[in-house]
Homo-oligomer: 256 residues x 2
DNA sequence: CGCGATTTGTGCACGTCTTCACAAGCGCCT
DNA sequence: AGGCGCTTGTGAAGACGTGCACAAATCGCG
């Protein structure tokens, strides 16, 4: 490789290929690749093939190569990818070269856990402040941070340059909190409340709903049970049949 | 509608249209529709148009109609959907007519929060048991459940008919736990540990990684900053340009 | 009873994502 | 130096998901 010195380095090196606009599906996978690469780096690998990285990240190797090709050509044919270089590239593209400040709103059950979760610091983020609306929670200290009242958001957000807001409140409070976050200039929100947020254009919202994940699993569980209960039936016959297949319900303990 | 009485009712009614195989994207949205429908039912709506439900669920109305059409025709033209009927249908398809037993492994920071989260009970699930490997945690009571040692998993899983496992352990322990869950017949796993699990075919794994969600947001944040910093530049010029656009980094507090 | 307003269900076209398969490139060994 | 094996990067094809736009169906009203 002719160019072994940071083709698109984050820091001061001039030649940044700016941001290619990546397919959204690719963006969603990059963090997984990054995690896998960090693991590989710790276990002493200096280079890794697409096959190897794909396995570590749980994806198809062709997909991985296409994903990485969108960032530019950082692999070497016959050898693989330089782990350190790739880490640097992905971190740059994801905007992780600076530690982003996160404001966490809602210090209930889940909020507590998030505030105490140490997985953030190691992955490019810093919880800058905790907020809640319940007076009884104000002043409480969690993991070295004091819980402040949500009305103090404007001052704190400005002082800490908060870029990302995390909502861990009950659903009824979430929209109001979202509005407050948007009002202080936050343009990215991670929403744990089970409700839809409406935000102005330009603000990104990602939603994580634990019950929804379980319900999706439940569907597949239901489906697997139905399939094992009707081993030979060829599908087509099932579509509109009125004859009762009440069986599908009873079968719960699966293959075992 | 000629057939207004539960065309594919869950319970004892015979004529179940079995499970149509839904597109995965549709399955992922059904829980959101379900939540919205429950809200609507509580606010007294008996019927709802695709437009109304789509708004409540945060999706396009055509998409919603197409999704629902996969379950069969449960709407009335000129009127809309019967809320109660639709709830029943979706709950049936998702396999929520029975309360599924969930085993939660790992009662650390996050596990504690999940164990205390009351959003599960109302949405079709029942946390049947808590497990951990740390002897200091065994015996602790959370939300009315006692933490047991992971080695007791086989007995408990059998007694409680556990169908779904939730892994909230640190990453290094996750694969081992997954193996143990699979060994006792669990075929659906929700994984909060930041690592890839390998499981036999037929076992479904869904992953939730908080840091990944933040990193995806970070990317968009990075991109938005880059765009506002280069308002007029027409994209094409940026692709390979060596001239330094170091600006892209500094711009943090967005629009506002 | 018929008509118009309303809303569902869907055919179609388009864009995105995935996967295969292979040429081009690279390093190593002889 | 040359050839061989390995791995990347990508063209092309197919699967999948989305959204428009409209025909078909239903209700309510005159």
């Amino acid at each position: 490789m002719s160019q072994h010195r940071h083709p698109g380095a984050p820091g001061r090196a001039g030649a940044v290929p700016a941001l290619p606009d990546l397919p959204e599906a690719t963006v969603a996978r990059l963090p997984e690749y990054l995690r896998a690469l960090h693991n590989l780096a710790e276990t002493g690998h200096e280079t890794i093939s697409s096959e190897g990285l794909a396995n570590a990240a749980g994806v198809n190797s062709a997909k991985l190569r296409k994903d990485l090709s969108h960032l530019g050509s950082y692999g070497t044919r016959g050898v693989g990818y330089d782990v350190a270089l790739l880490v640097e590239q992905i971190e740059y593209v994801l905007g992780l070269t600076q530690r982003r400040a996160v404001a966490l709103v809602g210090v209930g059950n889940l909020g507590h856990a998030l505030a105490g979760y140490d997985g953030f610091a190691g992955r490019g983020f810093r919880i800058a402040a905790l907020f809640d609306a319940d007076p009884r929670r104000i002043g409480e200290e969690i993991n070295g941070l004091v819980v402040r009242h949500i009305d103090e958001l404007p001052e704190v957000a400005a002082a800490e340059a908060v870029a990302i807001g995390v909502i861990a409140t009950p659903a009824p409070a979430a929209q109001r909190v979202a509005d407050q976050l948007v009002a202080v200039g936050v343009t990215s929100i991670l929403n744990f409340a089970p409700c839809v947020l409406s935000v102005p254009e330009g603000v990104d919202v990602r939603k994580v709903d634990l019950a929804i994940e379980l319900q999706i699993l439940s569907f597949h569980e239901h489906r697997k049970a139905a399939l094992t209960a009707l081993p030979a039936a060829g599908g087509s016959a099932l579509t509109a049949l009125p004859g009762g297949f009440a069986v599908t319900e009873s079968q719960e303990a699966i293959g075992t």
